[in-house]
Subunit: 393 residues, 2 copies
Amino acid sequence: MTVTAAAAPRPAPSDALDQTPYLVVDVAVAAAQYRRIARAFAGTRAYYAVKANPEPPLLRALVAAGAHFDVASTAEIDLCLAAGARPDQLSYGNTIKKAGDIAYAYARGVRFFAFDSLGEVDKLARYAPGATVLCRLLASSTGARWPLSRKFGCAPDLALDLLGYARSQQLDPAGVCFHVGSQQLDPDRWEPSIATAAELFRRAGDLPLRYLNVGGGFPVDYRVAARPIEDFAFAVHAAVDRHFGADRPEMMIEPGRYIAAPAGVLHTEVVLVARKSYADDHRWVYLDVGRFGGLAETEDEAIQYRLSTPHDGAPAAPVILAGPTCDSVDILYQHTRYSLPLALQSGDVIQIHGAGAYTATYSSVGFNGIPPLRTVCVPSGGSGAMSNADVRK
Amino acid sequence: MTVTAAAAPRPAPSDALDQTPYLVVDVAVAAAQYRRIARAFAGTRAYYAVKANPEPPLLRALVAAGAHFDVASTAEIDLCLAAGARPDQLSYGNTIKKAGDIAYAYARGVRFFAFDSLGEVDKLARYAPGATVLCRLLASSTGARWPLSRKFGCAPDLALDLLGYARSQQLDPAGVCFHVGSQQLDPDRWEPSIATAAELFRRAGDLPLRYLNVGGGFPVDYRVAARPIEDFAFAVHAAVDRHFGADRPEMMIEPGRYIAAPAGVLHTEVVLVARKSYADDHRWVYLDVGRFGGLAETEDEAIQYRLSTPHDGAPAAPVILAGPTCDSVDILYQHTRYSLPLALQSGDVIQIHGAGAYTATYSSVGFNGIPPLRTVCVPSGGSGAMSNADVRK
């Protein structure tokens, strides 16, 4: 039995950055991602899906870059307005809204909403009178690493009736939206929904349909590289040309992951490397962040992050990766093959790349007494000066 | 097409209790549950698993009732000590601890720890010298609604070596622990691990093994009633008698869910009732709490809560239940048949029963901009006076 050295002691909890875990978000990377997707989708309005990462410095950088914003709640509206966005740059894209939240959004000047049901039209008519509304269509998520199921969207026949009903309620039924699933790897998955939308536009009679929001889902590089964004823009534009022809609608996209994910690196410490029996050749590697600390998208091992360690290049062997809580579903990867250096030990810091989207806000408020993941925004280049004001818990 | 009335408006976000969602925890119910399990397991020390619900009023009530505490982190140690527990009433049961966290626990007077690997023994020897340590054994979770996989525990042969190694490092290797999975419905599932432990005790030579911690997992009534706790106590005691005979160890249990779950009722509002197509006879019912707002244990529909609505008794039909976020995995029940009244509409408040354990602390810090679930502790009977001091966010 080999006796390994114990890890160095750790100071008591504090806000210091020598304490993992924390997420470093490079705002300049996010702004560059925005500019790239906006250029690829020229002529299309890009609404940043704030839920991906709502850090104020990031939002301010995107306001400066000219972004629009897709919001899911009143809190996200407030964050965008505080970051300098105008209300007419916001789209309230969540189809599940409390009446009071619609009223709040309307009072703050938001006039652009999504819906996919009769009840939501009624609420919008009453609490956001005259607003511009898009109906969300059901879409297939085939090919997406993080599929969006039947939870959102309605069937086309119903959508057409609901748009007509919206007009009867003095709303402005202005088009349709859909979402083909997040981290969608296949550029051709947008076309079936675009075809459905075009058919619906043709059947819409005198309804003033003019917006086509093709949603988000544009993929980023995790362990496996995704195709370049230009391929997706080309496929979407070609499909719109094919199905809408000369009656091209005003186009919208809602990138979230594409903008925020590459901007983030999550720093986590190895808490323990363990073997559980003499017969098992896998090591268990426990990190100080797990599914309840921000890595929620490792559920079912869907999102497979790229990791780097201080021992990269040294001999490696298979591991099972898990989080620090007493919950056994807090396992990151046990079916997906991950191989890490044999030299890895307690106290080593691992970097989780591409972790800027759908991480910090998912983290639990205090499961097992573990505080939420902290985010540190840096203005550029990943190592620049940080002010304490940008360190948020 | 039927036009339903829109729901009443909701005030802007505030701390008021007319704002769902919130969890009401009846501290007296938790204390009664503690007394019942302590009586059923007479002669056994009961360590409340703080992770189930760490609300200070609940911890104070359990201190007053004489409970011991199983903690998973330094924050939980601080909460227990602040609630009046003595350090010698605490067991640091998480087998994945940072070196600094062990040192912190030791400095606060904690002398009782669990481990299941060589690396953890090294850390304990260095940062908690002389501490009393139990080795966690792998156990089968068959029969549990929330199984605990291979993530925790080691094989018996390795456990015996690690206990011997702990002694060589001047620790006090005092016994073993295991856990058969949470919401374990089968009282007979403890016996295989008790038999393994007894065999290990017999092979331990002159190691001073004396504690047998049979963990938690004791089930509560959700939609389906569980067997009474006395059945589990009887089965455990009988198995210990059978395998340990006259050399009966000092017994420990770690109930968490059993104590906290029945004490909590989660109040949630219906945000929307929707049909997604003319062909689907299911309604989608969207609540203002979901998997990321506290109902994490509905993952894979594992925990099936009992619901009550203002329309109970009226005609009902099948529904799919989902949470309010834009994440499609935020669905509570779609494969499990839930039937709710046809009269249900936006604005109705649904009560989710048995929600006192593993809910509030799991809730995300702000996914989709939605704040974490609030907890309100009431001293008795579910409707008694509450002070603002007991309303926590």
